[in-house]
Symmetry: none
Subunit: 250 residues, 2 copies
């Protein structure tokens, strides 16, 4: 197995900061590696609304239409399997990751009728909120280029990283919406401290801490701490690394 073929792609994707060309690059990978189609997605919700926020693909229009109109995202075994692996997997090996139901098999069969045969999907999770995937697929009857799955793995990883950068889905921490002091109070609150404990830590009075949290809640339009913290986490104002692994008050 030679990885030479990934040379250009890797170099291109590792540094790229705009999404112009990402689609073309993925298209070229398909051709060079012996795949027929690709699809790159990000979705930020796990609940009912499953519409992806980022979506690049060159699937047959029919399949895309069927997938959307019948809301197959909620039934897609590939999507379920993404939660159970950190690396790419072929669709025919999905049942080693998640149990396959009859409906799952039927869905893949419909896909074949629409021009999508087997595929190799690289899953990727974002901190806490979202997941993405990059898939390379072949036509029905075609076989996956097993010699180059490692290349697909690498290209998929870099493409997802590139898409994450350009889409801003991993927002940089910005204090835009809260003042420093508010953010500080919020941070210690998120670490499980009470207002009085936070006051001691920051060397200010408890009432001031309460006031800062009050203002912060007002800015986000929420009424309780839990929503405030989740909003700030979502906005990247506080990071997961800032709040996990903190000893609680004893």
């Amino acid at each position: 197995m030679s990885l030479d073929i990934a040379e250009g792609f890797a170099e291109e994707l590792l540094g790229v900061e705009t999404d112009s060309g990402l689609k073309e690059t993925l298209k070229r990978v398909c051709g060079r590696l012996g795949f027929d189609h690709f699809a790159l997605t990000f979705e930020t919700r796990t609940g009912a609304d499953t519409s992806p926020e980022v979506l690049l693909h060159d699937y047959p229009a029919e399949w895309a239409k069927v997938y959307i109109t019948f809301d197959l995202a909620g039934k897609d075994p590939v999507r379920r399997a993404c939660d159970k692996s950190l690396t790419g997997f072929t669709w025919e090996s999905i049942d080693r990751l998640v149990p396959m139901t009859r409906g799952d098999r039927q869905m893949l069969a419909v896909g074949r009728e629409c021009g999508i045969g087997d595929g190799y999907t690289v899953p990727r999770h974002l901190p806490g909120l979202a997941r993405g995937s990059c898939t390379f697929a072949v036509r029905p009857g075609g076989s996956l280029p097993t010699r180059w799955l490692a290349v697909a793995e690498l290209v998929g990883a870099l493409a997802l990283g590139c898409a994450a950068r350009t889409s801003g889905i991993l927002r940089l921490a910005s204090n835009a919406r809260l003042s420093d002091r508010q953010r500080e109070c919020l941070l210690w609150t998120a670490r499980g401290k009470t207002a009085s404990e936070t006051a001691i830590i920051l060397g200010i009075s408890e009432e001031t801490v309460v006031q800062h949290l009050k203002m912060a809640r007002e800015r986000y339009g929420v009424h309780c701490r839990q929503s405030l913290i989740l909003s700030a986490l979502f906005d990247g104002l506080i990071g997961f690394g800032d709040v996990i692994r903190w000893p609680e008050r004893s």
Copy 2:
């Protein structure tokens, strides 16, 4: 740039199902690619309860000791940067991902004194807030083999996937830690509902909701709602998409 050198590693790691040899493989990668050290970690839990971490490394004992005794994990800019990228990054480019403080630079300086110079870290997130990373580092004064960072990216990805498989870490992301009812109460609490509101939604008494949340806090060993919610989020018991942007009580 040739990726040939990754040939054996990729083949080895893509299929491996046991963790025997993973450490040796990573060691060999270091030698072949021109790195001096590696470290592969998974962080799986938040809060007071100390759950197993996966940790494979060949760092100098002194650095490991310093890192642990001074609890540098909480201050490590590399860890913070992992939240802001889906692909690997060199330590010297961290400030493009997260702002670097004087303390951060000082920490890296201490690392250099303990035998760790520059490094390339591949971050990886698990469903929920758990995360892992695979780092390849060079001695102080040494320079990263930039020609082979793509190989490091691939090997890091495969090694993390391998470690995830063998450690069973992805199986943990389930409802294992909380009962269904507890999780349900927690979910509505995370959406900003009070106990009495949650009681109405679920059709049970407020005291029962309080009790469920009490038991949930007990399991996680935390004393307040915010920590409970973050813990559940970290474990993937509730997803960000499930709780964010949910209409609050009016």
